[in-house]
Symmetry: C4
Subunit: 281 residues, 4 copies
């Protein structure tokens, strides 16, 4: 097991090249935000935007449009019931599916659409509701993606893996990951107070940042967005994931020095400044 | 009578344990926010969120959804006309009922639903419209709750207790509280420029913070939210209530040093920093 | 003519008494905000809220509800097409009518309703659209109000008074005011780069603050709100009006020291701090 | 070719005269913001407002109204499907058409309406969707405008000019501009990491500010708004355009010193302070 340290940030956060444009920093599509859980997709969106994704589109229930744009005019919007969604999927680099999506039939149809549309050039992050849906039926995992990143907390992982929390050992987790992803295109980010990250090569990483002030709703949604933003900019690989996980909790640690609780949206707001400090020269 | 001092903060605001998750910090459900008074439930929500409740859900009129999420994406939403509301009630730890709810037949039905659903494992805070409703009919008090906290200002308490303001003496208030709560599961937070707090054991406390710059609409809604957040995290007992009342007005005092009036939302915004200063080691 | 100086602030901004509550600081009702001009009533609302009015209600087109509460949850809302509006009028202390109201038949009906409902215990501020409406028909002025404050800029005053701008001399303005308000219950705030204020006693005042960075849309809406907030708290008299006019432009001057343009919402945001500095001891 | 330097700011940003009013700083109408791209028109609006335009109106899809006013109450709103839009056009000084407008039949009709209504007293800025529409049919360019400013990035310019990016040389761009604007009333702002500006007199300018942290969605929308604000205040000429382009990227450079990515809305927020520093005395 490898401990993730600050070094991952300078390794991953590359200095932007002068002759570059927004397309070079990736197109991220977020899918989620039902009538009840619009806040979740907004928080994930802010994670992607403020970590620097080039273009961010949000497919959600139409009821959430004004809250989204009141906070984040930088995000494009698409009604998740529109047929435009299936058309947009092939045009993006990273898809984050799940925050506030809900686990009903409609969410299932979205995963089935992704199973049909997604290609090996794309990275897929499955979070929250999407995890609960694949827990009921592993066939709903879009295996054709170049990389699938699962971001469950321990209870969600229990539902996906059928491993009860005390049995979520590194070896059990690794072998479950291997079973879930026969093409070796999976990464598991198992969130806890010591988040472990596993990839299909059998590597295990432990995050070393984070604090209990972060134990509030929306923290995971934000992390999914940050991972998406990092993969979009810095490549679809384990290092981008490790750096995103580390940075998200490092921001939380900085905020927690002066705050009893850490609001997820404050983490996102801190990212541009924090990333600058670790920019590789 | 006991004066509430700063000591209550260090006593109550416990340091969070490393191996904890958002469920450990309580699930709070707020019910209120009619078509006209959406702002009240938003301000109560911010009190609960920023004092650190683990999970916060808001049941309100659907018209308020976008304003809620534009300010507070951390809150989950539920249409208060949905049958999901009655299903959600048993799953939460704390219920705040009343801010901006309105006193019409619909509000009455919500209290009747709570009378049916609430259990002794749950804490209920009745504020604003909910107080006016129980004033018309004491049968609307959900007596089965483990603890019921009433948060009237003096005029609301007059309507509930039938005690005109000059007659709201400590002994009259205590005996009214005893009559209202034969099971001794009641706390009365009687808001004034010297807020008094009474519990069913006959104890009386006087808050020592607060200032007239706080005499603006929304201050009470915010306090209801902070009490909810404290009970959710620090236990359903008189100390949590005392600490919430003290902290809310302490925040107001700090803001009033440099501001002629104190906006309720600024009190909530100050809580994470202020709670950190009093965190018990 | 009297020059308005800083002294008016310490004279008017009284220290709040400890044993006071929000009702002591006045109930303000704002009427305006059509489908097209929702921003105007929001800016007026912020002027009233942040200058310290005890309770603020906004009657506007329902389409503006979420923007209002996303910015200002402290304000109560009422659909201006609801019959509740006419019922609310007698319960408030100050009415601000006009910002973004529009000059169509509906606006006219609102003024006619005010003509019927308003009493001598109430102060009425007519701004923007309301001025254009009374310009077409002076019978639309609700003469029964205890005090009517008109807040036109020079072009609006031309339409009300039939005085073209070069003819808007102090004497012409005073005599027009006398004609408009035979009961001597009128105040005219004639906005320009040197705003003049006239009352029915024949007094003339000139404001000495203000700068051209304030020449942007929304500045007048904000001023109407601040005047409303001051009258609600400090009494319905010329001094409250003078202090509000002076303070609004003083805030603009402070902002303009470091900003090329002055956003109206930044003026409102500065008021709590600025009022504290001039609080009478 | 002339390099644009800081001198353009002090040359253009004139000190406001004391005896001036909001009408002196121009009326700007923005047209854009479809159901999917409301954020784009909001960002353009903030560019116009915070650079100091006197009056700003936004014609967009009605679904975007609340997000617009939640952020920017200073802007007036008009439903872009209303017949009022065509009536408003002759009353404004500057029209910004395109941000988030969409390229469907409806957007085409808007351009056709502008072709009919616009006059030589008005300045027109065509951005984003409007550029893609004129790319399909050059007849859609409203030639009667006093000045037409095109603000394409290189890919948009390829579609308008039929010049593939490697062939977008200064001479090719100039001759294409001459062909597009036989009346010599065109300016081309060709956005890249070294933005070039061309006018119909054959002058070529190169901007010297900007950085790759600005390579995110919404940056161009913001620039269109700032150009509109500058033309509205400082005159419809090449210097206003150069100053707006320079200032927009200068703000980006200042933000990038401490931030890995530059949010477009933070650029707009910085403008009032930054313009003050370069105000001509």
């Amino acid at each position: 097991m490898t401990k993730v340290t600050e070094k991952i940030l300078t390794k991953v956060i590359s200095k932007r090249k002068s002759a570059s444009h927004k397309g070079d920093y990736g197109r991220v599509l977020l899918i989620g935000g039902s009538e009840n859980y619009g806040g979740a997709i907004i928080m994930a969106t802010e994670g992607a935007l403020k970590s620097g994704a080039g273009l961010v589109a949000v497919a959600c229930h139409s009821i959430n449009l004004n809250a989204l744009h009141a906070r984040d005019p930088e995000a494009m919007y698409i009604d998740w019931r529109s047929s435009d969604l299936a058309e947009l999927v092939p045009k993006v680099d990273v898809i984050i599916c799940g925050p506030g999506m809900g686990t009903n039939e409609f969410g299932k149809k979205i995963l089935m659409m992704l199973c049909q549309k997604i290609t090996s050039k794309q990275t897929l992050i499955l979070d929250a509701s999407a995890l609960d849906l694949i827990a009921t039926n592993h066939e709903l995992i879009p295996q054709a993606a170049g990389l699938v990143i699962l971001t469950p907390h321990q209870m969600e992982w229990q539902r996906v893996s059928q491993l009860r929390i005390p049995y979520q050992t590194d070896s059990a987790n690794l072998s479950t990951l291997a079973n879930l992803f026969p093409n070796k295109n999976g990464i598991l980010v198992l969130k806890s107070n010591h988040t472990h990250i596993y990839n299909s090569n059998g590597n295990i990483y432990e995050n070393t940042t984070g604090n209990p002030g972060m134990a509030v709703g929306g923290m995971g949604d934000t992390l999914a967005g940050v991972i998406g933003g990092f993969v979009a900019q810095f490549g679809s690989n384990i290092d981008s994931v490790l750096a995103a996980v580390y940075l998200h909790s490092l921001a939380g640690d900085i905020i927690a020095k002066r705050n009893y609780v850490v609001q997820p949206t404050k983490i996102s707001a801190l990212l541009p400044k924090l990333m600058k400090e670790f920019e590789e020269e």
